[in-house]
Assembly symmetry: C2
Homo-oligomer: 419 residues x 2
Amino acid sequence: MTGSGPDRRTFLQGGAAVLGGAALALGGRAAWDASTSTGPAVDPARDATAVDATAVDATAAGSAVVPFTGDRQAGVGTPPPAFVSLVAFDLVAGVDRGALVRLMRIWTDDLGRLTAGRPGLGDTEPELAGVPASLTATVGFGPGVFTACDLEAARPPWLAPLPALAVDRLQDTWSGGDLVVQICADDELTVAHTMRVLARQARTFTTVRWVQRGFRRSAGTTAPGTTMRNLMGQVDGTRNLVPGTDDALIWHEAGADTPAWLVGGTSMVVRRIAMDLDTWDALDRSGREIAVGRRLSDGAPLTGTAEHDEPDLDAVNDLGFTVIDTVAHIRRARSDNPDERFLRRGYNFDDPPAPPALSNSGLLFVTFQRDVTAQFVPIARRLDELDLMNTWTTPIGSAVFAVPGGCQEGEYLGQRLLG
Amino acid sequence: MTGSGPDRRTFLQGGAAVLGGAALALGGRAAWDASTSTGPAVDPARDATAVDATAVDATAAGSAVVPFTGDRQAGVGTPPPAFVSLVAFDLVAGVDRGALVRLMRIWTDDLGRLTAGRPGLGDTEPELAGVPASLTATVGFGPGVFTACDLEAARPPWLAPLPALAVDRLQDTWSGGDLVVQICADDELTVAHTMRVLARQARTFTTVRWVQRGFRRSAGTTAPGTTMRNLMGQVDGTRNLVPGTDDALIWHEAGADTPAWLVGGTSMVVRRIAMDLDTWDALDRSGREIAVGRRLSDGAPLTGTAEHDEPDLDAVNDLGFTVIDTVAHIRRARSDNPDERFLRRGYNFDDPPAPPALSNSGLLFVTFQRDVTAQFVPIARRLDELDLMNTWTTPIGSAVFAVPGGCQEGEYLGQRLLG
């Protein structure tokens, strides 16, 4: 902290607090009441005179705050902002339960501050913290945490690498990890700063295993609630679990079989899906629509007229063939068992290509579900067995994490497991 | 194009056309009158009924259009949007003047469409083109273009690799290139799609040499006109040429010594500057401020109180030492010769680190100036000789390009050189 008068950071925070409702609404992230925000304390008298409506409008996407504390971690049921950095860490030898508790205490404290637009304790670039931009950071534990902490008995049975799939061409550089943090915000500098703070704090406990960065459309460019498009041009994520409505499939809730640390928790699967845009580009629009089973123009199923129409899998054309092909992605991706669904929260990636390739693109396919084995694996197996889209997409990274429940003020992340 | 009724793209374009002024103003990019836009033709009657004010507000940053045609290329004097992809291409053997003309015709046509929010001809993902988000694409020619086209006599003397500097640790992977395109927009998907279209069109003419992606704060997060901060936390770019005011130092203007193709043109230097954030983090705030010569909190010179105050290089403290250190960056970066200045248009980069590093961060230092030798090189030499910041920053890539003047409707980029 600099302490030298009303600097720009203070101004922005004031704007967020005074006009929080408007700020959240503008970016279409209006999932929370700003009055419940854990945002910074401000001097209302000063801010009321310092802030004019025009200035606040121009910075509203920056000052939006997503509460960090709560029964569940943010970044799962909360609306996905434009950018993600998924950072996986490996624990260094000798890190045990006590050490992990120290790291979680530090990260929890830092994240409480950073998500509110304030610098972390000991933040060496405090001025970069002033634009929370709907920042969330979701922490997950890989199998290695349970080994290192001598907690094998507490490891959920689904917390393990996914079963081998024929389509997989997994690279170690994009797979596994003892810890993960999914950092999301509507601003790349905020994401970069948050990652830097967390990685620096963890440096004596961990090494960085992989970093995967992704994007969707920027805040303020498309109508709130628009389903994202991937780099193949498809509307991607139409049929998705709905937080609030489908919570029983997303979250672990209190019950006899649920350990306390998993109440309000979930599981996270990260699959890095490479797209072969060169061969995809050789396919005409009709071929692409058959492969997916949806229209490219608006994502409507080939039997419907609007994106969210239910596909008619039995409808046939004049020749007697089903309109939605027998191996179309949307047919293969749905099971007769309504429990075999999960929350997708994917992002595009577009990294520099290695010559002579033109592109190095794909999808960070991130899913949340109560139980990986019961919900994710059956669908992955169906798609592995038959899916036209397998021609152009290849999983090259894979990791599974347990996401512990959220923490309340004064608690640290994972306390009910590690404490 | 899909041609199936009022799809989302048409809707957005309608919003841009109808409320273009508001759209530009919201993001603080109000450098042009929307009425001069080369944007798509729309049916005003349909759009007047289809667009409501709320929806347009939420997508204004996406529908903003920067005109592609004009005396000068966009992306130099126009306000920098949040994201850049710098893509360098090498010409493949056998590409001559005729082939390059064909490529420039194709790119010019594509860019005229894409910057207006419309798909390129033969765009295989047309739905990704509907969010122009202030898209600009600035094309530059490296020395190789003049060799391949048998135009050595036309090569400006400053179009060559920079002279060797002691601080340089240049990597071939980040240096040189026969052609460059600087793609800027407020949306990463738009940047990715534009890059894909251009690279695909160029595939028989070129190979991709390098891609460098960078970011600033997102549109709508900070007040318009705010100077960017870099990942060291510094306000970066305070003392800069001002387009409109300092045009004589940025642009080649018509005159006896100026070849026609350079009228309205400039030169572009791309330096990839790695930052050693680990050693920088070990420095306290006072040490950092001495190294730069500015306050971290607000960018004011150590002798001033506000960011744009002129530094007093002669001011001394109680001990008789100059307040701004003799090797402080801001002292070393300024010359007594007012012509030795250039337009900086930099972006941060934050790529995945190679373990065990925590970060792979730095600055894409992009400059535009009339004459590299007269304006850029003297400052680079001064900083090479003495600059405290050299302790924490290392140039690892370097390239120089000539940016031909803009093209008018019906012309192609570079026509006055290649035609």
